[in-house]
């Protein structure tokens, strides 16, 4: 049950990180991607709250994997972006691109 609508900025980056991580999209990896690759600090409360929200919106789903560190079997959630999630991301990107048109001189190029 998804809702075709626009997603918030943090929601976008979480979805993008999950897509980037492919089969390795666990919450710690998503957080690391955001903190190290995107350079933005992430409170885990905000992260888990967003993951929950994205699941409710139908943009994200998860499966349980068992990890076996520390001598016991613990559950880990592996996230994957749904088709609705991809469609939402696409819509967001298209909207931004449409609004960015003609603003190349104003906006500086990507920093290296």
């Amino acid at each position: 049950m998804g809702r075709m609508g626009f997603i918030g900025e943090f929601e976008q980056v979480v979805l993008l990180a999950a897509l980037q991580l492919k089969d390795n999209a666990h919450a710690p990896e998503i957080a690391r991607t955001l903190e190290e690759d995107a350079g933005r600090p992430v409170s885990r409360g905000a992260l888990y709250s967003t993951l929950n929200r994205l699941e409710r919106k139908g943009f994200l789903e998860w499966r349980i994997e068992a990890s076996s560190e520390d001598g016991g079997v613990q559950p880990k959630r592996r996230f994957s972006v749904t088709e609705e999630g991809i469609a939402a991301l696409t819509a967001s990107r298209d909207m931004l691109l449409a609004l960015w048109k003609g603003l190349d001189e104003v906006l500086e190029g990507p920093s290296s």
């Binding site: 409170s43 885990r44 409360g45 905000a46 888990y48 709250s49 929950n52 990890s67 559950p75 880990k76």
Partner: protein, 914 residues
């Protein structure tokens, strides 16, 4: 590879996360994620930094988690069947409407269950009815005797006042002159009133009947703060002089019953003791004086003493104590201060009047005087406390029976209960349902118990000795008793439902569904509780039976006491000429005439008159002095004295041991003579012959002793020997309420009617006398021994029956549960008698363990009984062994029947049944 010690996140932070996030996979995975990151951080930056990081994240996650939860967005996999916006309830909520709905369902279900097993329901209800009924009866007695309010104003400020005289009890009456002095000289009471109680002949419209009435001081009602419901009460000036104010205040019930609540009663003339009195008022409903055992029908002032009382107290003497006193303390005066004040008064009076030395004025609360005085009240309290304990035991035994029945039922219903449990009913729900069932049972038992209580009270009433005026059992079945009954029923319900309920709460219900394991192991759990309960019943029953045994032996000893007279076939005829207004001469002549007429009736062997018949209701003391005997400084020369007609000793069968008896020659004009008993002879003529000795007694006259009679019992059967003086009626003070004793040839009951009609024909205006046979008459003196023995005996038997039913029930149930086991044993070669012995041995074990505990309890209980026993050792072996023997015998019988059944089990049938 060496195992690394992985860093652990801080426990407090973990606890915080656990508390704030709903349990489930999501929470577990979040914890795992954070733990993983914590480990990595600890490896890079050390455990302290990692710990700090963990705390920060835990706070952030908890905060967000709670916030989302409040917004209805719980973290967790979405459940399509649940509304995602709703916050799930945390733990059980208390929902009043829901609970009431449950209660209604439970009651209906419970009723169905009870009706489905009519046999066991009947046994349970009857057991409870008997147990609760016994409690209702005894509590009604307690209520009527000790708790019922006296309906006076501020009862805590009112005080009962007694005069203690040297040589007599502490709680004695007061003479009229002393009363006046107390009233005038005290500093502690705002009012001090006096009263006395006596039987009176009341005639309204109908024929005269004998009622209790009181003669009171003019301020009696004011001191008690009681206002008339109709008309007025007395005024202080109506107290004297004598015969000047023939007014009467009627009791409320008397106005209702004898005068039909006539609104025009005020100003009417009624006759009391055949003397006209005017009704000036009606007492308020609920006021019945200060005595629990007597409800006065009327009150009349002290000025009418001569007319209203059947005897004439000496109002000029300080040595005729006939008044009971009640005072109201001044505001702010405590009981201790009042006592001190009256102590000073007593010593002042002793200084002025040498005869009053050694006297004490004793103050007690009103409650202490409810039964006449603190001695009697204390005795009653002790007896009632013991009876409450006895019926409490009976109720416990009944409860245990019901508990065992409930346990047996629960064992049978285990499948149904397990099913409900597996369908989602919580343990507490099931327990509530079981408790509702047992409480329903108990409420039925309680309702029936009230009926049983009323019947029991009627039975107790029959134990009451007859008196001239009936003294009804003051048992009041009012709201207090009903409240206690309800409480008892509810407590019983919970108590008896606890056993199966506790079983349910044990977490092994799922096994019941599977029905695994042989019946042997199933029976064990519930069986142990049942055995414990039956053992408890045996113990309690033993205590009651032992107590009954002790009291019965005490009663036997009391009945065996020689009363000092030998009159088996005889009658006692109360002749109270005080009920009519006879002057002394008329009265004496009337008594003489009646004696002559009755003596010659066919069937009468002999008859005599006496002022007092021994062992009657009262028998006062009298001051004497003996020539040649110097009393010690502290010694009061008080003796019981009687006035009799010539044939008295022969009629009563009292042996004369020396000298002669009073005879026809001892007339009014002859030498005044007297007889003494052996104790008086020994005490006042030590080492000398009392015959020809001289005694100063009645009216200051000097009597010459002419004979000695054997010692007897005069006041009570268990009293120690006392001095006794007997004077001829013709030579002594006139007594209006005399008694006629008659020795009959045949059955005395056949003579009641002829004698009664003889009396009525002589004195038609008087109420008919209540003639008693000697055995009936003696019941009064035997009552203090008979009543406890009969009551404890009956309750003990009841307990025995209940316990036997309990034992039988448990054994029978046990046997039926173990049919499979017996079948196996028999199939494997055991004999029938072997199985029988095995079952009996099980029963014997329960009985014996109960008896051991019961014996120890009985040892303690017998000490409580010690004060009630007459010449019986509280550790009397016969009573103990007797009780134990009866219990053992009955118990073995109760075990025998199920044992027999077990031995006859057909192996093939039993095995198939499983």
């Amino acid at each position: 590879m060496t195992s690394r010690r992985l860093a652990r996140p801080p426990g407090g932070a973990i606890a915080l996360l656990r508390l704030s996030l709903p349990s489930g996979t999501t929470r577990d995975s979040i914890l795992e994620d954070l733990a993983y990151e914590h480990r990595r951080l600890a490896e890079c930056r050390g455990p302290e930094a990692a710990g700090g990081w963990y705390w920060r994240q835990a706070l952030s996650v908890s905060g967000r988690g709670l916030l989302d939860r409040l917004r209805g967005r719980c973290w967790g996999r979405l459940d399509p069947t649940r509304d995602p916006g709703r916050i799930p309830p945390r733990g059980p909520r208390f929902d009043v409407l829901g609970e009431l709905g449950h209660l209604e369902r439970d009651l209906r279900h419970g009723l169905r269950q009870l009706l489905r097993r009519p046999g066991s329901t009947l046994v349970a209800v009857v057991s409870l009815a008997l147990g609760i009924g016994a409690n209702v009866a005894i509590f009604s007695l307690v209520n009527g005797l000790l708790l019922r309010p006296l309906n006076v104003e501020e009862p805590d400020e009112a005080t009962a006042i007694f005069t203690a005289r040297l040589g007599e009890g502490r709680y004695g009456n007061t003479s009229y002159l002393d009363y006046l002095d107390y009233k005038k000289q005290n500093q502690v009471f705002s009012g001090l009133a006096a009263y006395t109680t006596a039987p009176m002949a009341l005639a309204g419209d109908a024929a005269p009947e004998i009622v209790w009435g009181q003669v009171v001081s003019g301020d009696y009602f004011q001191v008690l703060g009681v206002e008339a419901a109709l008309g007025r009460t007395f005024q202080p000036d109506e107290e004297d002089p004598q015969d000047t104010h023939p007014v009467v205040v009627l009791g409320h019930d008397t106005w209702r019953d004898a005068f039909g609540s006539d609104p025009g009663i005020l100003g009417r003339t009624i006759r009391i003791n055949d003397y006209p009195f005017t009704v000036i008022g009606v007492a308020p409903r609920g006021f019945t004086g200060l005595l629990s055992v007597v409800e006065p029908a009327l009150w009349t002032p002290l000025s009418m003493t001569r007319r209203a009382l059947p005897y004439s107290p000496n109002m000029e003497s300080r040595f005729d104590p006939w008044l009971q006193l009640v005072g109201r303390r001044r505001p702010g005066v405590s009981m201790a201060e009042a006592r001190a004040g009256m102590e000073v008064l007593a010593s002042n009076m002793a200084a002025d009047l040498p005869t009053h030395r050694g006297r004490e004025i004793v103050l007690e609360g009103l409650d202490e005087g409810r039964l006449g005085g603190p001695d009697a009240t204390g005795q009653a309290k002790r007896l009632l406390a013991m009876l409450l304990g006895v019926v409490g035991f009976v109720l416990l035994i009944a409860c245990f029976n019901v508990a065992n029945l409930e346990l047996a039922k629960a064992t049978e219903r285990r499948r149904e209960i397990a099913l409900r449990y597996s369908l989602g009913a919580s343990r507490w729900r099931i327990v509530k349902q079981l408790l509702t069932e047992s409480t329903l049972l108990a409420l039925f038992g309680g309702g029936a118990g009230i009926g049983v209580g009323i019947l029991t009270l009627q039975g107790i009433g029959r134990l009451q000795a007859q008196a001239e005026v009936p003294i009804p059992i003051p048992a009041t079945l009012d709201h207090r008793v009903l409240a206690v009954t309800l409480l008892l029923a509810l407590a019983t319900g919970v108590l008896s439902g606890l056993a199966p309920a506790l079983q349910i709460l044990k977490p092994r219900q799922t096994e019941a569904l599977k029905e695994q394991g042989p019946a042997l192991s199933r029976a064990r759990g519930a069986g142990r509780i049942q055995q414990f309960l039956v053992g408890g019943q045996v113990a309690l029953s033993l205590v009651l039976l032992t107590g009954a045994g002790l009291l019965i032996r005490s009663l036997n000893n009391t009945l065996a006491i020689d009363p000092g007279f030998d009159l088996r076939r005889g009658l006692v005829v109360p002749l109270n000429t005080g009920y009519g207004q006879y002057e002394e001469d008329e009265g004496r002549a009337l008594q003489r005439r009646l004696l002559d007429r009755i003596s010659v009736l066919p069937g009468v062997e002999s008859a005599a008159l006496a002022a007092f018949v021994p062992l009657g209701v009262n028998h006062g003391h009298h001051d004497v002095s003996v020539e040649g005997y110097e009393p010690a400084p502290d010694e009061r020369m008080l003796v019981k004295r009687n006035m009799v007609s010539p044939d008295y000793f022969g009629t009563m069968g009292i042996p004369v041991v020396r000298g002669r008896a009073i005879d026809e020659g001892d007339t009014e004009d002859a030498l005044p003579v007297a007889m003494v008993n052996e104790t008086m002879a020994r005490r006042y003529w030590p080492g000398r012959d009392p015959v020809e000795g001289r005694v100063r007694a009645d009216l200051g006259r000097v009597y010459t002793v002419v004979g000695i009679i054997a010692d007897g019992k005069y006041g009570s059967l268990t009293e120690p020997p006392e001095p006794y003086l007997v004077l001829p009626m013709t030579q002594a003070e006139y007594v209006a309420n005399a008694e006629l004793v008659v020795r009959t040839g045949g059955d005395p009951r056949a003579m009641i009617r002829p004698i009664s009609s003889q009396v009525r024909s002589e004195v038609p205006g008087l109420p008919p006398p209540r003639i008693m046979t000697i055995p009936r008459y003696l019941e009064y003196s035997q009552g203090s021994a008979r009543t406890p023995a009969v009551m404890v005996g009956v309750f003990g038997l009841l307990a025995l029956v209940l316990a036997s039913v309990g034992l039988y029930g448990v054994m029978a149930h046990n046997v039926s549960q173990r049919t499979w086991e017996f079948g196996v044993r028999l199939a494997m070669g055991a004999t029938g008698s072997g199985v029988e012995r095995m079952v009996m041995a099980g029963g014997l074990k329960i009985i014996l363990s109960g008896m051991v505990v019961g014996s120890l309890m009985a040892l303690g209980a017998s000490r409580v009984l010690a004060r009630l026993l007459y010449e019986v050792d509280p550790l009397d072996p016969l009573s103990f062994l007797g009780g134990a023997g009866i219990l053992l015998g009955v118990g073995l019988l109760a075990s025998f029947l199920p044992a027999r059944r077990a031995s006859r089990a057909d192996p093939s049938t039993s095995l198939r049944a499983e």
